[in-house]
Amino acid sequence: MATGADVRDILELTGAENDGPISKKDLINSDKKKTKKATETLTFKRPEGMHREVYALLYSDKKDAPPLLPSDTTQGYRTVKAKLGCKKVRPWKWMPFTNPARRDGAIFHHWRRVAEEGKDYPFARFNKTVQVPVYSEQEYQMHLHDDGWTKAETDHLFDLCKRFDLRFIVVHDRYDHQQYRKRSVEDLKERYYNICGKLTKVRAASGTEPKIYVFDAGHERRRKEQLEKLFNRTPEQVAEEEYLIQELRKIETRKKEREKKTQDIQKLIKAADTTTELRRAEKRVSKKKLPQKREMEKPAVPETAGIKFPDCKSAGVALRSHRMKLPSSVGQKKIKAIEQILIEQGVDLNPMPTEEIVQMFNELRSDLVLLYELKQAHSNCEYEQQMLRHRYEALLKAGGGTGCASTPGGDAQAWPSADDIKVESKEQIIDVVGAPLTPNSGHISCSISSVLKTK
């Protein structure tokens, strides 16, 4: 509820006694004799410019000192208020004016401040126009003649260009297609830029090479045709395109996976080969019992095969058995496999860690892991090969049944409703030919490829 003090505050009249909020005493004891104010209430003037509601929110509860450091509030809360009524009004006058942008010099009237009498109409400077070249009759006859265009039509084109500031879409819309031929937007642009180019060349001072804007009409036409086709695609076509793109992505990812797999296998094989070579080399050396230096280079054992034991160059004292510890990167299955083989062979699972034993034990375990990986890879490839062979035989039967035989490439048309599995298996067949598998299955793949080629 607005009280008298509030109203005074809103109107910003210089207030009466209290600036602070009304207390209960004042209200209730208004008819009784006014009790003397016991303490002098400290009222704090709100900072000038702060809204009174804001001030009331902050400091209305008790008449405590506002927790503000005295500061200069002239910069903080000051909202720019128009100081109305301070000065005399600047006089306005109904005066006539001419607009320099107009060609007819018409005189209009409007209200303007007396102080600005005589100044130019400020909006005239926004009157910008595009520079459209103007050619003379002579120039036209000499340089701008063209079989497809009459002078009248060229004049019409230029007139429209000037009127519409080279907005060719609008020019094309307002073009007189009945009187002249039906022209496309590219035709109009072509003619216009042609003429501009020729005129700049002709008018340029001799010796200078003027820059000419070359308009490639053919390119524009092709581009628009392409856009039209794109725009007019039916939803089925759009769906088909999306479907094809998805299929392509699937094929690509599968291809990548396969490549990765083959790479892994390759590494394994290489690791296996190099380790066997190393062994043989060592055996030869040890047989000869010659303290020969190993001059041949150690073929680098690919580190992904087997186990890499961390080379601990720890400072201070360390137990040698620490070097025998399997790194945590070795998986449970591999650990199991190692254990199993060691038990089978009757080797102690935790031998005494002398220097030689540690080294050889690590090597042994590394070899065991390598062997395990190879076995796995081998069984995988075998399984894949079996599966593919079955599929292939099934496809052959189906393909032979419908009477369409030929190379896999040609079969693309034979499966119009690109059945997922069929497509995939076809791809597999193609890839099987290319990728080298384990030595054994490579043999079989060669035979398959030869079979396919002869078909």
């Binding site: 007819d104 409007h110 100044k119 109409y121 609008v170 819309d173 628009k224 725009f231």
Partner: protein, 382 residues
């Protein structure tokens, strides 16, 4: 500075439509006067001739009075005919009224300006026509304009037929002295006013039309998807009472009638099915434009006109357009939700344009008109 952007030379803006006229001062945000585009002319009893000229002919003292504002027009008078005024030619403006300058602008361009755009497709669905007008850079592309006669008047006609089918007579309020409450669907019970003047047929029809237009505006709704009998049957009904007391719940008819705007193939009263629905009007219009500007047009589809205020119109239009355009096309419908702005958008555009400082050079002054004649309008007005 000269007082801000608006240099008021004091311009008047007129927007004359086939249903209503909007007029007012430039610089304001809504027209001062909005009245139906009909003139009531009382005929001279004696000679019964109908003066066709507007008040250009000062010599005539025939006592013909013209009534144009809504209140005057709705008072029943004897022999008052209703007609559409002739459009004032420039000649009248300059020579009779002696104005200093004037300018004509296409309403589609102004509607686009009122919505803050200089390029876009303006769909104007008013009383007589639904038109799609492509505007590019402030100029109308005349070769892309597509017009369809399916608009407000078509809706009114369909409503009239509905009442005929229901065997309900349309009684305008001027005839009614009193009415009784009847239950839903029951025939109306009302008493006719005594001592009514003998009104003309045209005026009576006009008043009946007003009743139907009120029904049209209150009850009709466009369904979200193409009309389906079952879906329509489940829509909530709207209760409406005619001036004579007849009241009824309207259900499926609410949706069926405006469906004709979007899908004229099943609409009654259309001979042959060559009419285009609203969605097709828009896509055809855009299709006739250069392919480079099509995304610009679809990105600003401005919806104006009183007929578009039917509930559900813009939603349905949005749906139709998004189905008909390629999925990569960005579609944006601009439709003001207030009645005032959609009906008056052309007027508001004119008000904005006339108060721009940079527009003052484009007026056609009296001098120019005297020198150039009518051709100067073709040249200066886009």
């Amino acid at each position: 500075s000269s007082g801000g952007m608006a240099t008021n030379v004091g311009a008047l803006v007129f927007d004359i439509g086939s249903y209503s006229v909007r007029a007012g001062y430039a610089g304001e945000d809504c027209p001062k006067a909005d009245f139906p585009t009909v003139i009531g002319v009382t005929l001279d009893r004696e000679d019964g001739s109908t003066p066709m000229e507007t008040d250009g002919d000062k010599g005539k003292q025939s006592g013909t009075t013209y009534y144009i504002d809504t209140n005057q027009l709705r008072v029943p008078r004897e022999s008052m005919e209703v007609m559409s005024p002739l459009k004032n030619g420039m000649k009248l403006m300059f020579e009779h009224y002696n104005i200093p300058a004037f300018f004509l602008c296409k309403s589609a361009v102004l509607s686009a300006f009122a919505n803050g755009r200089s390029t876009g497709l303006v769909l104007d669905s008013g009383a007589t026509h639904t038109t799609a007008i492509p505007v590019h850079d402030g100029y109308v592309l005349q070769q892309g304009i597509v017009k369809s006669p399916l608009a407000g008047d078509f809706m009114s006609m369909q409503c009239r037929e509905l009442f005929q089918e229901l065997n309900v007579e349309i009684i305008p309020p001027y005839m009614i002295a009193s009415k009784d409450a009847v239950r839903e669907g029951a025939p109306a019970s009302w008493k006719k006013k005594e001592k009514l003047p003998q009104v003309t047929r045209s005026w009576h029809n006009y008043m009946c039309n007003c009743v139907i237009q009120d029904f049209q505006a209150s009850v009709l709704q466009v369904s979200d998807s193409p009309y389906d009998e079952q879906v329509a049957a489940q829509m909530p009904t709207v209760h409406y009472e005619l001036p004579n007391g007849y009241n009824c719940d309207f259900g499926a008819e609410r949706l069926k009638i405006p469906e004709g705007l979007f899908d004229p193939s099943n609409a009654k009263g259309l001979s042959g099915n060559t009419m285009l629905g609203v969605g097709h009007v828009v896509t055809t219009s855009v299709g006739m434009c250069d392919i480079d500007i099509r995304p610009g047009l679809y990105g600003s589809v401005v919806v104006t006109g009183g007929n578009t205020l039917i509930q559900g119109f813009t939603d349905r239009l949005n749906r139709e357009l998004s189905q008909k355009t390629p999925p990569s096309m960005r579609l944006k419908l601009i439709a003001n939700n207030t009645t005032v702005e959609r009906r008056f958008s052309a007027w508001i555009g004119g008000s904005i344009l006339a108060s721009l400082g940079t527009f003052q050079q484009m007026w056609i002054s009296k001098q120019e008109y005297e020198e150039g004649g009518k051709q100067c309008v073709d040249r200066k007005c886009p």
